[in-house]
Symmetry: C2
Subunit: 253 residues, 2 copies
């Protein structure tokens, strides 16, 4: 297919590369910041477009990868009402695209992307939704070229999935960051806990997390918990997080 990418962030970058590898042609890249469009376009042998009004009408699909707030604004500018328009957001509904085309859908790649870190798209769950069977068929065929892991969910389910991902990925990474800072404050290296982080993620690949919970809270080891809170006496925010998550572990079990 001939595809126009609207957006140049992490998702657009990784998805654009994967689509190109699968044999699709990225015609053009548009971004609010022209310089970003230029960088991504150049890596995809595509044209960078400065003004949305200049976007090609000849593409088969327009992929909008921008923040939720501006999906509708960007969709409104696409000059081809009969072409497939999709967005890649976990939390925006499919209906947001309805005013702008008769054929629309969603392709939500459930992964954490950083521009500097390559990912293997084949493993990434791609969560699809289409405005019609025809669109769903097109999306499914395309998605299966990119990944072994393709699912259809409606917008409500996708929102829950996105929310669960915030807990399992964004908040988790932040806990890594808090641990990193705590170690740094005491001249200890983050390297010390990297194997632990790997193993913690590995353990839940074949178990449910509740069944492999470890640590002082699950043992109801109040002495250790109190010692930890005392160690955090100069970090009230960490103390609060420690208390809330420990209590939540106790409540769940």
């Amino acid at each position: 297919m001939n595809i126009v990418m609207l957006g140049s962030g992490n998702v657009a970058t990784h998805l654009g590369k994967a689509l190109q590898l699968a044999g699709h042609t990225i015609l053009e890249v548009w971004s609010r910041t022209y310089e970003n469009a230029r960088i991504l376009a150049s890596s995809l042998q595509a044209e960078a477009v400065a003004d949305v009004s200049e976007i090609s009408r000849q593409a088969d699909m327009y992929i909008i990868s921008v923040s939720d707030d501006v999906i509708a604004d960007v969709a409104a500018l696409i000059p081809a009402k009969d072409k497939i328009i999709i967005h890649t957001s976990g939390s925006a509904g499919i209906e947001i695209l309805k005013p702008y085309s008769s054929r629309y859908g969603v392709l939500y790649p459930l992964q954490t992307f950083s521009k500097k870190q390559d990912v293997d798209f084949k493993e990434i769950p791609l969560v699809l939704e289409g405005s019609s069977e025809e669109v769903e068929l097109v999306l499914k065929e395309m998605a299966l070229q990119l990944s072994f892991n393709v699912h259809f969910l409606n917008s409500d389910q996708r929102r829950i999935l996105h929310l669960a991902a915030v807990f399992a990925c964004n908040f988790t990474n932040h806990l890594y960051a808090l641990a990193d800072n705590l170690l740094k404050d005491h001249n200890l290296k983050f390297d010390l806990i990297r194997p632990l982080i790997t193993e913690t993620a590995r353990k839940v690949q074949h178990n449910h997390p509740e069944s492999v919970q470890t640590g002082p809270a699950i043992r109801n080891d109040k002495k250790t918990i109190d010692k930890h809170l005392e160690l955090l006496r100069d970090h009230p925010e960490l103390q609060e997080i420690y208390k809330l998550l420990s209590q939540s572990i106790v409540n769940l079990n």
Copy 2:
């Protein structure tokens, strides 16, 4: 060396196996619960000991892997004041063993162990402390047979490391569990986010977590945050965790 294991929990189980694989002899296993001692002893071709007073005086090393509260009680019962006594706790100090032997130390394996999940000991950071150079040499030689990843830290540093591990491992696993429950409530499978969990851990193996943070909080995407809080309206505890961690992400950056 001839070793007596005191305790039969996750650490004792995995450490005992690793020591045996490295060529050491586990003479005996004692545990507060005799049945647990029997199970572990049988897997290590060792004797299970029901009564602490019957523990062999002939071992070179006594390894105490019990909860912090009872380390001193167990150490007091070891009938060999000139033998090396060590504990495996992250948060108990080395000095807790001082009254019970002239040679004592700590071997803290920084990993999350579950009895049912095998681990590769070679990758596990082993954190050591000894009461003398002689003990530290014995511990170092033994630790290097078990792992490539051996460190000496004092008790204060080890406590910080243990605390950081609670954030990076125990709390992280609990966030996985909260995500799992959220998905379950909406008939969605945990399988959907397993690849995301793997990638989140993989990303910080070569980056510091702060530099790869993603999600609505780091983008200051208040609309998405509000939508998520609305989705959690029937889960006040999850709402509170969501707010606190989102605010903490904002504060750190």
